[in-house]
Symmetry: C2
Subunit: 429 residues, 2 copies
Amino acid sequence: MVSLSQVPTPRAASDRAVAEDLDRSDQLAVYRERFVSPDPTLVYLDGNSLGRLPVTTAQRVAEAVTEQWGSGLIRSWEQWIDMAQSIGDEIAAGVLEADPGEVVLSDSTTVNLYKLAAAALDARPDRHVLLTDDDNFPTDSYVFQGLTAARGLELRVIETDLDAGLSTEAVQAAMDEDVALASFSHVAYRSGAIADMVAITGIAHDSGALTLWDLSHSGGSIPVPLRSAGADLAVGCTYKYLCGGPGAPAYLYVRKDRQGELRQPIWGWFGQQDQFAMTGQYDAAPGLARFLVGTPPVLSMIGVREGVAIVAEAGIGALRTKGQALTSYLIDLADEWLTPLGFRLASPRDVERRGSHVTLHHPQAWQICRALIERYDVVPDFRAPDRLRLGPAPLTTSYADVWEGLDRLRRLVESGVHESYPAQRSRVT
Amino acid sequence: MVSLSQVPTPRAASDRAVAEDLDRSDQLAVYRERFVSPDPTLVYLDGNSLGRLPVTTAQRVAEAVTEQWGSGLIRSWEQWIDMAQSIGDEIAAGVLEADPGEVVLSDSTTVNLYKLAAAALDARPDRHVLLTDDDNFPTDSYVFQGLTAARGLELRVIETDLDAGLSTEAVQAAMDEDVALASFSHVAYRSGAIADMVAITGIAHDSGALTLWDLSHSGGSIPVPLRSAGADLAVGCTYKYLCGGPGAPAYLYVRKDRQGELRQPIWGWFGQQDQFAMTGQYDAAPGLARFLVGTPPVLSMIGVREGVAIVAEAGIGALRTKGQALTSYLIDLADEWLTPLGFRLASPRDVERRGSHVTLHHPQAWQICRALIERYDVVPDFRAPDRLRLGPAPLTTSYADVWEGLDRLRRLVESGVHESYPAQRSRVT
């Protein structure tokens, strides 16, 4: 799968012609034209926070507004009512390793984490531990704190090397038969480290625990082996690598044979067996629909379909290959240009353990981040306290973008312009 | 407040010239031009299910897509991050009787019901009853069934005359000091009957219970006296009278002095005190933000601002006056034309007890509803088992629309064309 032949030697990396050569032989280069890119000087290295706008999405949203809502009015629910399921099936087929009827769009990632974690805890009433790690995304951790506090359960938190990511051995050491649910991020939001979904799910299952994976930083950029792992539950974000638009609804996955046994706690009319009978008694729908709750935000769902279609067309295998090459190239440049300036790699150096973003430590990461955005037209991301996160999303980023971004970063730090920025935290997600 | 002088005598109602006279003297008639209305023959009597599209919304959504998302990318979160609160404040000021910092956009109505009902039950741990009625919207009832089942509490359900709506006396009779939370719809979704928010909240408070109001069918069409009532909690829908667009995010209200004492169960990063510090420990934000959860669907929020602005400009007082006149006129026509055809009023006849929609019983309501939509270009709503719901939203409906809609309904039933439709349930919300 992995073609490292594209990765140049460190010696050559700093020559811009290398980037141009790589772009010429990039099979995915054509996909960059499928996205809006109005500012040619911008280097966008934050596609892992908010993916770019597909060219077709503006038109599709406009049609949904003027034709479906404006003209069709309430009658358009005939088109909208199954959209959460049909887009879910498209994600299952084109983005994840999952079957039809196992993935559905619903709510936010956080609400989905709550629903699925609660369902799992309720399904293992004789166990009292929810296992996670300290490298999980904050909202995951908050949800788990709330659920365990309300139920008098134990939240067991594995301490992780935040640059290396979660190790399978650490999960093995923390697992026992008290664990009802083990929940981790597939790709760590700080470092981009990949957790071994197959091995970790196996460890959980050997102890009789259920698993809940957060795919927000993996879905759409690397293979997600839900089926191979036999993973029970997952949630994921559509506004990062899936380019669904700001705050677009999240997706959730429940393995087919778990759907009947699990009940989520927010009983609403979209999870009801016969929704429009409007009967008094709640009867959970038999399949995945029981994990739905209320009326979905239609206009925010439209973009998800467009983004997912492009990701599926490009293919996860090709995206993974390019993602590995792009991040390897980025690390080569960082080694040559940035290490001498006080940067240090905060991601796995092993390409097999690294997702599609690369993070660097620098004591002035916050000031550098602000100065890069405001003075050098490069958009990275800051992660407290000292991390600069660079996300060259493989669908929309060229090798020349990476060269240009790192060259500007190098020049910025050499110039010392960031020293004039006050030290403070970002409000940007 | 109420001007009944506009309501014609029953004798005159069936003369179309009466409707035209009423439209000429309608102060709100100008607002109809603020909405897209591409099909001049359509009579839309379902603005209480999905409000019409404001002319400005298409442009605002397009800007959000191409400029904010497409060009601004992640940097646009500076504009988006406080939108839930600022639109909430606009709803508080222009739609409800509430103060800044008491209303915020978040999630779906159902998820908000769950969060606020759970918070209320947790705040009254020495009480074991959640009180509601059998005329509440199904999703409200389902949420309450789920919450009380999970906590081993009693769900006490008042039996209501579904045409007359919830009586204050029935609430008084069902209330006692076991009740932790009393939750009702302000306007009943079937009949349009108004519950007496001030009196019922007073009864609950006299027993030490908290109140949670569902404003989905009242907010944007009649005054909502949250402050006068001292109401504790409320949720509401933005895609009906507020014309925010299909599935647009709901709002929630928490009385200022209750915010500190209440905790909702879904702990997420948008409810965290210092969201972007991304610390490991969840600390609920001090004010209303603690009732937020995850990343909001930005594109679906844009329309809410536009719809709310028009409602606020028209004014709830004027909308209430026109709503009373429109529904009274509709009932006059129904008395004259439809009662002889087997229809029977399923809404309060007393204009003071009636919201902005009118419902009629007919044994073939389902078939009539389908035939009206498909053959007569009139869009009403069906409510099982035998109700035809007519929602002449005061902001976008003319008296001539009401005349035309009821005339077509009369002609349809006289023709018997609906007899050829099979009896079955609607999938349309």
